[in-house]
Symmetry: C2
Subunit: 409 residues, 2 copies
């Protein structure tokens, strides 16, 4: 069944909000054997939304909308969808009571009438409970030009959409799935996209498998998609054997997951000492549930004073070589492992830019040090790009270096 | 002039990559007085891409595509666009030479012919130089059904797209802009969307100003859009006066920018002690260029051992009250300010979930402490939602609390 997603919200087109809902829905649907065929992003305007429905309804079995279900005047998804499909909107007395009760708790006086637009429900729609906000979601079985369509209206805030989709929508969707498309994927750490493609295509040949690649600072992600699940599994296994140790374990597509897994399976602990990455490595590791098994903590030593006082970098290193040097990073990783009493460590110091460069230390110069037990290594990088790019590349390469050192252990 | 963006890449629909390009382009174009009217996201398939062009070209003056310019077989944007507009593709000998030279540097043997698909240029196109990758961008002045259209093809990786857009595309776009739409915006910290809307609408009435709101854990962002720039400026100033101190300074839309600005203007320094946010607060602050003026560093004390050993939290607090307690967070913020010798501090400890909860300490329980000179405050929160949501809300509320304390100084 073909799924399309219409994301509504002028803030998505103005760039003040990044559309993470599409990625969330993509991951969840792909894992369940559905595929999103199209995405549209439209401002909070009835005309644009109607146009998107007109474009996408004919080519989709299921349409998911995100956003525009709240109480303010720019929340118009309910009305536009009902007009498009010729459905009546009616107030649900149960929902009105719930909204009233919620408003009372906020102790903000008399409830404004606009609040109750959220109690409007299209005829025959199923209400999807919102445990994390006020606007309920809606599930509609309807028709357009004689074809059955499922329309699912979800709230915009990810904190409301994500649990509602997992708890209320996914069980209903898997129950009705007829034909499915499956995907196998794996990631090859630190590889060149063209090289990977040549080897993958030699294995797949003319088999009914659709191939896709996605290159990043971490490596190349490879996706095999098609209707024949056993074939996909066989070929993915063959390819993973071919690429060997470069393939991340557990079909993981992210180096931070891989590094956490490799540390956990060795019962190793990790600490980090960060300068130019400013806590990004620690934040990435602790983003994973259960990271307290492997991660003890970090010292973000953003100023030289803190590198000396808290991390214990000798003044002579800072004076002679500077904070952005092989010597400093080597001492950072040694000291953080010693102070935090961890088996493994990562240290990063560099010039993320746009300021801070000197004649012999340009923007993008980053030293990364890793340690696993008695093995340690420091490498020098010259990254190109913006502050954000330099920082992201530093994080990716720190995880790559730690992974390699774990395998040499 | 109406701009639409077509983002290509199956990884965007599978959810393995979040589409940050749209947000980047939205911000840059909005700031320059353009507005993105539509966004489409399509897989790496010629049919879907052609369909998106057919839907969006008639309603747009400018179409920007992102992705699909690389050397692999799923990179088909060039070909699809040329077929749609009936343009010839020809090899650019200059580009071929550059690609050959670049390949030589990589020392990977003979260059595969697929590499040179990146040297194919549509007739009369302007080549946009790519300083951060191999695939050049393309600018096309063409026609469809007798109407002039500008088509801009950009590479997918943000590290290549962002500098190319800023350096090569933006100057060309501003030179041709005829009519523009302007936007004024501001953010009201920690406010309820419905309340803000009522006050904004009372001021704007029936003036030719389009209103939009975007609520988040940080507060409500308000956008005024329209063709009359002086009117927008007057009304935005009036509204900002109305909301007073709750409005972030410098038209900032983010609390971290605001907090950095308020610290800098007082010449105050900041340190953080993080447990469940695991470095996210430090990472957010250091994401801003020039943050070394105000930020000295952080201790990410993820384990209790580190809270004791490195942050100096007394064992009796950890034993009697636990790490997730008012007492622990109060000591964390005091100690980090003392050790790092900073004027201001933030400390966070909580249960982000899904694991780690106990009978009296549920998932979502978070204590946040802030200090500015001799003023200090700790608050208890019960956040709802996923691990990611709990962590994001903790970060937003930490910045809100610090901001409030700075104003009470």
């Amino acid at each position: 069944m073909k799924v399309s997603v219409i994301s509504t919200g002028s803030e998505l087109l103005r760039g003040t909000t990044v559309n993470t809902n599409l990625a969330f829905l993509g991951q969840a649907l792909t894992a369940a054997g559905f595929s999103i065929e199209r995405g549209a992003i439209v401002p909070d305007s009835g005309r644009s939304m109607t146009e998107a429905l007109a474009n996408l309804v004919p080519v989709s079995d299921i349409i998911i909308t995100t956003g525009g279900l709240g109480p303010t005047s720019d929340d118009i998804t309910r009305q536009v969808v009902c007009e498009f499909f010729g459905l009546k909107l009616m107030e649900d007395p149960e929902l009105r009571k719930k909204l009233e009760a919620h408003w009372l708790c906020l102790k903000r006086g008399h409830a404004p009438e606009a609040l109750f637009s959220q109690a409007q429900v299209p005829e025959n729609a199923v209400v999807l409970e919102n445990r994390n906000g006020t606007a309920p979601g809606l599930w509609l079985n309807t028709q357009k030009n004689g074809c059955s369509k499922i329309i699912i209206l979800l709230p915009g805030p990810p904190s409301e959409l994500e649990p509602m989709f997992s708890e209320e929508v996914m069980p209903k969707l898997t129950a009705i799935a007829a034909e499915r498309t499956f995907t196998e994927h794996f990631m090859v750490a630190g590889a060149a996209e063209l090289m990977i493609q040549q080897q993958v295509e030699a294995v797949i040949g003319y088999l009914p498998v659709e191939l896709a690649y996605c290159a990043s600072a971490e490596g190349v992600r490879v996706f095999l998609t098609g209707p024949d699940r056993p074939l996909l599994k066989t070929k993915a296994a063959e390819l993973k054997k071919l690429f060997g140790i470069a393939v991340l374990a557990n079909d993981s597509l992210s180096l931070v997951e891989e590094v956490s897994f490799q540390l956990r399976s060795r019962k190793f602990t990790l600490s980090t000492a960060e300068s130019c990455t400013g806590g990004m490595i620690a934040a990435a590791i602790t983003d994973l549930a259960g990271s307290s098994d492997v991660f003890k903590g970090s010292i973000v030593a953003y100023s030289n004073e803190i590198k000396g006082k808290i991390l214990g970098i000798p003044g002579e290193i800072l004076i002679k070589h500077g904070a952005v040097s092989e010597e400093c990073v080597a001492a950072m990783v040694d000291n953080v492992c010693a102070r935090f009493d961890t088996d493994a460590g990562i240290a990063v110091s560099g010039i993320a830019g746009p300021g801070g460069a000197t004649e012999d230390k340009p923007v993008g110069l980053v030293f990364i040090g890793v340690r696993v037990k008695e093995l340690a290594e420091v490498r020098k990088f010259n990254f190109r790009g913006s502050r954000e790019t330099v920082r992201n590349r530093a994080v990716a390469n720190a995880f790559r270096m730690l992974r390699e050192l774990l395998f040499r252990q």
